[in-house]
């Protein structure tokens, strides 16, 4: 099935590349067609997945909606393209999508050789190991000789190889293309451990036959800054995506939520006045409406709201803010001044 997808993408690459260069013109093209095409995960609970009514939900999905709110002042003017890990970058390169919000890790080689630019990180993740508790393992250092299930076409494969290589341990990967098949093999005991980003492992454990039988080992073996990506060469569009994510972070820092944003319009604080477009300037500089930040917060919410709604402690994923807390709370979320 994936091979067909690959062929389709390769074909699309051949044909769509025939389209004229769009440097600096993504915004115009998006405005002309009236919506933004966002590439998202096919089914990763908490990040990008359609619910039982067919409505797309997740942190990445909400990032896509926020971009639509910034550009059109309407968070619904967005269409989602579900993509596999293998298809995602080709879809962006070929112009099939305008922005990729699909828990993609920013790395040097992707940034330089794939013809794309990553924007502000919207989730700081790390790779870990999920194991059945009955294995009796307390640390990833005890995994010498283990068989490990890995999802292909991701940085995960490389990180796991690096980790075992640097610790001088032996291991055997089992690489299966589709996530549900891989999970089934893991639950049936084909592998001793399943490795992926910790946020994904939390999602897998949530769908296990008996979640309490499984645990995530304490070691975090990699850095995974998951970031939206745009095509290389359109700086204006990159700025828009960048500052959309930053606006959500900044809103949280300024204490602006989707509930109180209307009151905040009357705030005397010049930082808030500039941010919400009461004092003009920011919007015009980006080529957007002066109210773009107001629209993002009003229609989608600030970063904290989006986090708690999709992956936070009250969701089945039950993830703590951790690295994704504001810098003022000891996390990494830090927005430059909006002026």
């Amino acid at each position: 099935m994936k091979r067909i997808g690959l062929c389709v993408v390769a074909l699309a690459l051949f044909t769509l590349l025939a389209a004229p260069a769009m440097a600096g013109e993504t915004l115009d093209a998006v405005k002309a067609k009236g919506f933004i095409q966002v590439g998202v995960n096919q089914g990763l609970f908490g990040f990008g997945a359609a619910d039982d009514k067919g409505v797309w939900r997740g942190l990445d999905v909400d990032t896509g909606r926020a971009i639509a709110a910034a550009v059109f002042g309407d968070a619904t003017k967005v269409k989602f393209t579900p993509l596999t890990a293998v298809q995602r970058f080709t879809a962006l390169q070929s112009g099939e999508i305008d922005v990729l919000c699909r828990n993609a890790t920013r790395t040097l080689s992707r940034e330089t050789s794939l013809g794309l630019n990553f924007c502000q990180t919207n989730y700081y993740d790390g790779q870990g190991f999920l194991i059945p508790k009955k294995l009796g393992v307390k640390s990833a250092k005890e995994l010498d000789g283990a068989t490990v299930c890995v999802l292909p076409g991701t940085t995960t494969e490389l990180n796991a190889a690096d980790y075992f290589r640097s610790s001088g341990m032996q291991w055997k990967p089992v690489v299966i293309e589709s996530t549900p098949e891989l999970n089934k093999a893991f639950f049936a005991g084909r592998c001793d451990s399943l490795t992926s980003d910790i946020s994904q492992l939390a999602g897998v454990r949530a769908v296990a036959p008996n979640p309490a039988d499984y645990m995530i080992l304490p070691e975090v073996i990699s850095k995974e800054p998951l970031s939206p990506a745009v095509r290389h060469g359109d700086d204006q569009w990159m700025d828009i995506v960048d500052f959309t994510v930053l606006a959500m972070i900044n809103a949280e820092e300024l204490g602006i939520t989707s509930e109180n944003v209307d009151e905040m319009l009357k705030s005397k604080d010049p930082k808030i006045q500039r941010f919400l477009g009461v004092n003009a300037g920011n919007g015009k500089a980006l080529g957007l409406d002066e109210k773009f930040a107001y629209n993002i917060v009003k229609q989608v919410g600030n970063y904290g709201e989006v986090f708690e709604r999709n992956v936070g402690v009250d969701t089945p994923l039950g993830l703590e803010r951790g690295l994704n807390a504001l810098w003022t709370d000891g996390g990494l979320m830090y927005a430059p001044p909006f002026k």
Binding site: A10, V86, S113, T147, P173, V174, V175, E177
Partner: protein, 395 residues
């Protein structure tokens, strides 16, 4: 004289667009130009756009470190090796499953095909049911089925089944002991190669002698002795080393011996059972294409049943069997790329990972196409040669 006059006349009066020969040449040139233009458009456009978007091109990535691990490999491989070596591991894995698959499929298919023609009602019906069921279920589904059977039913390594001492069956795979490596093995292989040549020469000689004198030489028994005896003789000369490398449970998994993974087992089983159903029908059709009179005539001459099959039926049936059999062998090789779905690291699976890590989809897809083209052409070449050899020589 008169002919030349007419052709001179025509050359002078018939315009070139009404001359079928010239017209054919013009059409060919036009077609060639169109194909060349389409190719130029695609290639130049792709290259220009790749450059504009700053996407890496070329096959330079093959020399970079792959940094990913592969579950099973016929040659030494680690994450610090190059992409080229990783892809080579994939090619060998594909060849391994295809080669074993083709051999087992042909044997199984022939047996079922003959069983289908059996006069025993039960045997022929069972073969018929097998063929109908296996042909009608998509092979991908069969792969998922066998793989699930393996990982759901086999025990964990700590509770592995041991049918014989040193042999283990668990959801980590099938582990069995092999002789520990010894210099004698290389010479045994050489001895076996020499034995093959000797056996071929003996068969030739026996045939010639039979044609000349009518005396039959027991070729099969003699050749069996040569093929087995020579390597064993070498082994004894080296002092008969019997040291075995026995798999042992250590930590999470078995160490030592040789293991066949559940992924390999499921892929091989699925491909063989599926393709054998088609081969069985081909064999049945081939045998039925030989008219019954041939068999009766052979029996009337007093040939034994085995000789009837070997000397009369099969030589005539094979020329019907070989061409469609070739296409089934190609099918099996190409279907082996479904391995991605159940986690066997075949060539497509490794190439997919490579494409994703390097982002060079066009180069990767080109490699995949070139590789399967090579497999198919080589198989066809061999089978066409065999087909020519087997074809009826008309006198």
């Amino acid at each position: 004289m008169r002919d030349r006059n007419i052709s001179d006349l025509m050359a002078g009066t018939v315009p070139f667009w009404n001359d079928p020969d010239k017209r054919a040449i013009i059409y060919q040139i036009l077609t060639l130009a169109l194909v060349a233009m389409a190719a130029y458009y695609l290639i130049s456009n792709t290259l220009a756009n790749l450059e504009r978007q700053n996407i890496a091109t070329g096959f330079g990535f093959l020399q970079k470190e792959s940094s990913f691990e592969i579950g099973e490999s016929l040659i030494g491989y680690s994450a610090s090796d190059t992409y080229a070596r990783a892809l080579w591991v994939g090619v060998l894995n594909t060849l391994k499953v295809s080669f074993i698959g083709v051999v087992v499929t042909v044997i199984l298919g022939t047996i079922i095909g003959i069983a289908r023609l059996s006069t025993n009602w039960l045997v022929s019906k069972l073969a018929g049911i097998y063929i109908e069921v296996m042909q009608d279920i998509p092979v991908l589904l069969q792969l998922f089925f066998w793989y699930a059977i393996f990982y759901e039913n086999l025990p964990s390594p700590h509770r592995a089944m041991t049918p014989f001492a040193g042999v283990f069956l668990s959801n980590r795979g099938f582990m069995f002991p092999v002789p520990e490596s010894h210099p004698a093995h290389r010479y045994m292989l050489l001895a076996f190669a020499a034995a093959c040549i000797a056996a071929w020469a003996l068969r030739r000689w026996a045939r010639k002698r039979q044609a000349r004198t009518g005396r039959i030489f027991p070729v099969i028994r003699a050749n069996g002795c040569i093929l087995l005896g020579l390597p064993i003789l070498v082994w004894t000369l080296f002092g008969a080393p019997t040291q075995m490398d026995v798999p042992e449970l250590s930590g999470f998994n078995f160490i030592g011996g040789v293991s066949l993974s559940p992924e390999f087992g499921a892929l091989l089983l699925g491909l063989v059972l599926y393709t054998a159903a088609f081969v069985a029908e081909i064999v049945r059709a081939g045998i039925q294409s030989v008219s019954y009179g041939q068999r009766e005539a052979a029996e009337a001459l007093g040939l034994r049943p085995g000789m009837v099959l070997n000397l009369v039926i099969l030589p005539q049936a094979l020329r019907v069997i070989i061409p469609p059999l070739t296409s089934q062998m190609l099918n099996l090789t190409k279907n082996s790329s479904l391995a991605v779905a159940i986690g066997y690291p075949d060539f497509v699976s490794v190439a997919n990972t490579t494409i994703n890590q390097t982002g060079q989809a066009i180069e990767g897809v080109m490699l995949i196409m070139a590789c399967y083209l090579c497999f198919s052409l080589l198989t066809s070449l061999f089978m066409n040669w065999y087909n020519k050899k087997m074809a009826l020589v008309e006198r």
